[in-house]
Every structure is written in structure tokens, then in C-alpha cells.
């Protein structure tokens, strides 16, 4: 309620006198009987509350105006229970059906069997691919990889996802020509991202090389670029597959692990194919040598010798291919990228978490909070203004409608 004061709006003295007489009559102290009669007549004109209503209102006031229960709460339980039972049955049925669908689609369990099971077991592999494809070699998540992941100081979500996911050891499409009883030939690849401070870059790079050599591995290529403000190093390594886990563990001890991804490729088909072609070439060599022993004419002898030379070259090439394939399976490829954070010039860098770090972290927290507050304010302030305006407009509209209801008569 707001009072509008208007200094120029003054009451007429005569009117003020009559109003004073009215006030006196209303207070029961009327000097003029006419005013007292008017007050009594107007007051008597309105009916008194009916006793029944008065008693009911007294009870409600005495009870503190108890709120009536919502209509939906007043529904008898015997009506609600069947509906709840039906709804529960539908929900449970839906859950069971969806679970069954998930189990039956063959996407999860076979993957676990292939990825986590015994790789040398052809039976377990047959579960993966029941038709001609045979078992895949094992590719369990390396313990060292898990250890490395745990040491990671700030792994990204992508890195954690890559590290936690088991390596796809078993390719989905296996070569049907490969006999299922043959041991699978699998090439394993690993990509490892390490981070360290600028001072530790060279030591970590040396450590990568040293660890590789300790594991009887080979550094196929390496590149180290360092500067006072940071730097990075990349390595392509070959590590004996049997010692891959140990190697990853050693690498993880050199710096913080920011990323780890592992994969595998089944090259059994290529291996068997190369073996078959080598056997064929050797059989051909035998036949050519036998034919050369029986040859009588100089022309046929020269022709056979030329074919034998070509056959020898082919055998050498196939043997090389086979050695390369064996090497790929016995030596896992490890790509290591080592990056240095640009904190070399920072006097606080490289040490334990200290007051400087605390101040920086606190500042960062304040920056984030200020950002959040700014964004929230950018959203909430206009909404609050709109809401306030709407509330004011609604209040004014309601007031006008009420007054209109009164004045419509």
C-alpha cells in the first residue's frame, strides 16, 4: 500500500467538521443524534454472520487453518496399489528386456572374452568368431600400463579413456584362410605421452633410451628438441613383446604420464601366406634342380639356370618378409612423446608444492570463481530483471482488474 501525498489536496473545513462528527458517531460518542442514527442504520443493514458459519470459522481458527490434503493424497490405497503394481511390473519387465537385449547383442561379452581371455586358447577364440576365424592371441591390459596410469599426475579424459580401455587385441575380421589351430601372430603397438619440466627433459630422454636398451629393445628413431622454456622429444622404439610391460613401467617412472594408448594387429594371415609362398618357392627350387639334372641340351640348361636364379631371389625375398613379420610380433612398437612444460625459468618450478604454488592456485581458483560468477550473473541478472518486471506488471494488472471489478457496477 502506498499513500500518495498531494500538498495542494486539502480537506474543506466544513467537510472536516462533518467527518469529525461521523468519526465520533462511529466511535459511539455522537453529539448529533442524526449521525448516530445513520451509523446504526448502515451497520444494521448488513446481516450478521450466521451462527453455523461463525462456529465453523471459530473451529478453523482454533485449528490454525489446517490445510486440506491434496486430492491425489486422498485417493484410497486400494485404488493406488493395483496401479503401482502394474507400473512396477512394467518397469521391471522393461529392465529385464533391455538387459537381455544388451546381453544378446554380442558386443560386450565376446569382446571381453577375446580381449581378456587366454590368447593361446583356440576354444576361447572360437567364442569370439565361431566361424572359420580362430582364436586370437591374448592382449590383456598390461599391469605396467595400469601402474603407469596411476602415476599420471593430470591425465586428460581422453588419455584416461585410452589407458583404461583394454587394447583391441583381437581384430574383428579374421582371415578365414588361417587354420584355427595355428598360434596367432599379433603385433602390439603402444603410444605413450610423457610430460616433465624443462630441466628434466634431457634426463627423461636419456632414461627412455637407457630403459629401451636394458630391455633388449631398439631405438629405431629419436629426436630431442630442448630449450630453456621447454622442449619435446619423440622416440620410435622396438621392445620385446614379452618385456613390454616392464618397459612401460620404466618409462612411467621417468616422467608423468599424460597419455597412454595401446593397440594390436593380428598379422597371422600375412604370416601364413608368406610361409606358404616360401614353401612353394622351395618346392619349385627342388623341382628345378631335379629338372636341371636331367637336362641335356644347352638351351634347356640355360633356361633352367635362369629360372633357378629367379627362384633363389624369390626365396630370399620371402624369407626376408617372414623375418620381418616375426620381428613385428616379437618386438612391439612403442611411440614415446616427451614434452616439457615451460617452467624452466620459474624459480619455483621443479620443487615441492610451496607458497608460490599455493598463491598461484588460489589466484586461479579466484579467477575461476569470478568467471563462474560473471557467467551466472550474465544469465541470472537479466532473468531477475525480467522476473521482477513481470511481477510488477502482474501486480499492477491484478490491481487494475480488481479495481475494474469494483467499478464495473
Amino acid at each position: 500500500m502506498s499513500r500518495h501525498h498531494d500538498p495542494t489536496d486539502t480537506l474543506d473545513p466544513a467537510a472536516a467538521g462533518e467527518l469529525a462528527a461521523l468519526e465520533a458517531a462511529l466511535a459511539g460518542d455522537a453529539a448529533d443524534p442524526e449521525w448516530a442514527a445513520l451509523v446504526a442504520a448502515v451497520r444494521d443493514e448488513a446481516p450478521a454472520p450466521r451462527p453455523r458459519f461463525q462456529a465453523a470459522l471459530d473451529d478453523r481458527v482454533a485449528g490454525g487453518f489446517p490445510r486440506a490434503r491434496p486430492a491425489w493424497l486422498r485417493v484410497p490405497a486400494r485404488r493406488v496399489l493395483p496401479a503401482l503394481a502394474v507400473a512396477s511390473t512394467l518397469v521391471i519387465g522393461g529392465v529385464v528386456l533391455s538387459t537381455g537385449t544388451l546381453d544378446g547383442n554380442g558386443t560386450d561379452r565376446p569382446f571381453e572374452a577375446g580381449a581378456m581371455g587366454d590368447a593361446s586358447s583356440a576354444d576361447s577364440a572360437s567364442e569370439v568368431a565361431p566361424a572359420p576365424p580362430a582364436a586370437a592371441p591374448p592382449a590383456p591390459t598390461p599391469p605396467a600400463a595400469n601402474e603407469v596410469q596411476r602415476r599420471s599426475s593430470a591425465p586428460t579424459s581422453a588419455a584416461s579413456g585410452a589407458a583404461s580401455a583394454p587394447p583391441p587385441a583381437v581384430p574383428r575380421t579374421l582371415d578365414p584362410s588361417v587354420p584355427r589351430t595355428l598360434n596367432r601372430k599379433v603385433e602390439r603397438t603402444t603410444s605413450l605421452g610423457l610430460t616433465t619440466d624443462a630441466k628434466g627433459l634431457q634426463d627423461a630422454a636419456d632414461g627412455v633410451v637407457r630403459a629401451t636398451q636394458d630391455m633388449d629393445g631398439v631405438v629405431e628413431s629419436s629426436q630431442v628438441d630442448s630449450s630453456p622454456s621447454g622442449g619435446e622429444a619423440t622416440f620410435v622404439l622396438r621392445v620385446p613383446t614379452a618385456r613390454l610391460d616392464d618397459a612401460l613401467k620404466r618409462f612411467g617412472e621417468l616422467a608423468d604420464v599424460a597419455r597412454l594408448s595401446q593397440g594390436s594387429e593380428d598379422i597371422t594371415g600375412s604370416f601364413v601366406s608368406a610361409q606358404d609362398r616360401l614353401s612353394d618357392a622351395r618346392a619349385e627350387r627342388k623341382a628345378l634342380l631335379a629338372a636341371l639334372g636331367k637336362a641335356t641340351t644347352p638351351r634347356s640348361i640355360a633356361s633352367l639356370r635362369a629360372r633357378i636364379r629367379g627362384n633363389r631371389t624369390e626365396i630370399a625375398r620371402l624369407e626376408g618378409d617372414l623375418r620381418g613379420l616375426r620381428r613385428r610380433t616379437s618386438l612391439a612398437r612403442v611411440d614415446v612423446s616427451l614434452s616439457a612444460r615451460g617452467r624452466a625459468a620459474d624459480p619455483d618450478a621443479g620443487g615441492a608444492w610451496g607458497p608460490g604454488d599455493a598463491a598461484r592456485d588460489a589466484l586461479r581458483v579466484l579467477e575461476v570463481l569470478a568467471g563462474v560468477a560473471l557467467v551466472a550473473g550474465a544469465v541470472l541478472v537479466p532473468l531477475a530483471l525480467l522476473g521482477g518486471g513481470a511481477a510488477l506488471a502482474g501486480s499492477g494488472l491484478r490491481r487494475r482488474r480488481r479495481e475494474a471489478a469494483l467499478g464495473a457496477g
Binding site: 474543506d12 467527518l19 445513520l38 442504520a41 448502515v42 444494521d44 448488513a46 450466521r50 469494483l406 464495473a408
Partner: protein, 167 residues
């Protein structure tokens, strides 16, 4: 009858109810000209006042003025809801004459009813606020959003018309 204590309120809701219930009913009846509707509005006004009693600010006016503001809004809402604005065009035959039940002066009451019927609805409300609610001109001004002197002028005009009609 024992009413619940209202410790949180800055006033005694019980006392307010006891001294104002009949007046609120009379005021609502004056606006609605319907006994049942007046009772509904009276009950609603007291329920709203009870639920909002902790929000009452004594610095902004008396509890009685606050209660009648609530009752006024409830009555106007009822008028809008029921589309009964026509009832404000006073019809003396719409309700039985209470005076006849109470053995008053039938002629005098008929004259008063006719005089009230001749008033503008807003003037009739001013009469109700003055005679039934017993509000001061300042409180009526607050309630209607006008100044105290303006409220006094309007009340005086309405009462003068009423007196002339009753003469």
C-alpha cells in the same frame, strides 16, 4: 474456545479475529451482496491473514487495516471470479431484510437500503470501509492508493449523498 498461540506474529491474531470477524463479514457482504459469498470471503481473508501473519509490519499500519486490505482483495477476486460485478448494482430485494428478522425499523432500513443503492459502487465501498471496517481516512487512503485528504474528501462526498438520500 482456545485459539492457537501466534508467538511469531507482531500482533494477536486471536484478538484481531475476535474483534473483526463480524465487521469483515459485513464489509464483504456490502461488496458482494451475497451471504454465502461473504462468508467464503471472510473465511478466506482470515486464512490468508493467518498464513501471512509473520509478514505483518506494524510500522506500515494497523493490523485491522492490513486485514481489511486482504479482505478487500479477496472480495474483489471473488467479484471477478464469479463475474458478479452486476451485484454491485444494489438490489434491495436480493437479500432478505435482516432488520425484519431482528425487529428493527423497517421503513428506516428501506430508506437506507435505497440510499445505498443510489450510490456509486466505489462510494458504497467507501461507506463500507468507514462504517463497517472503521478505518481512518489515512488507512482508507493507503488501501486505495490515494492521499489521506483525498480519501477524506471522497468519504465525505459519499456520506453526504447517503445522508441526503436518507433525509
Amino acid at each position: 474456545m482456545a485459539f492457537p498461540s501466534s508467538n511469531t506474529a507482531a500482533f494477536s491474531f486471536d484478538a484481531l479475529y475476535r474483534e473483526s470477524a463480524a465487521d469483515v463479514h459485513s464489509y464483504a457482504w456490502s461488496l458482494l451482496r451475497d451471504r454465502t459469498a461473504a462468508e467464503d470471503v471472510t473465511a478466506l481473508a482470515f486464512e490468508r491473514a493467518y498464513r501471512r501473519r509473520t509478514r505483518f509490519d506494524a510500522d506500515r499500519g494497523s493490523a485491522r487495516a492490513w486485514l481489511f486490505a486482504i479482505a478487500r482483495n479477496a472480495a474483489l477476486d471473488e467479484l471477478r471470479r464469479r463475474k458478479r460485478t452486476a451485484t454491485l448494482t444494489f438490489d434491495p430485494a436480493a437479500e432478505p431484510e435482516p432488520a425484519a428478522e431482528e425487529g428493527g425499523e423497517p421503513e428506516r432500513r428501506a430508506t437506507v437500503q435505497a440510499a445505498l443503492a443510489a450510490l456509486d459502487p466505489r462510494e458504497r465501498e467507501l461507506v463500507a470501509l468507514k462504517f463497517h471496517a472503521g478505518l481512518s481516512n489515512a488507512e482508507i487512503g493507503d488501501l486505495l492508493g490515494i492521499s489521506e485528504s483525498n480519501a477524506g474528501t471522497k468519504v465525505h462526498r459519499a456520506v453526504t449523498k447517503l445522508r441526503k438520500a436518507c433525509a
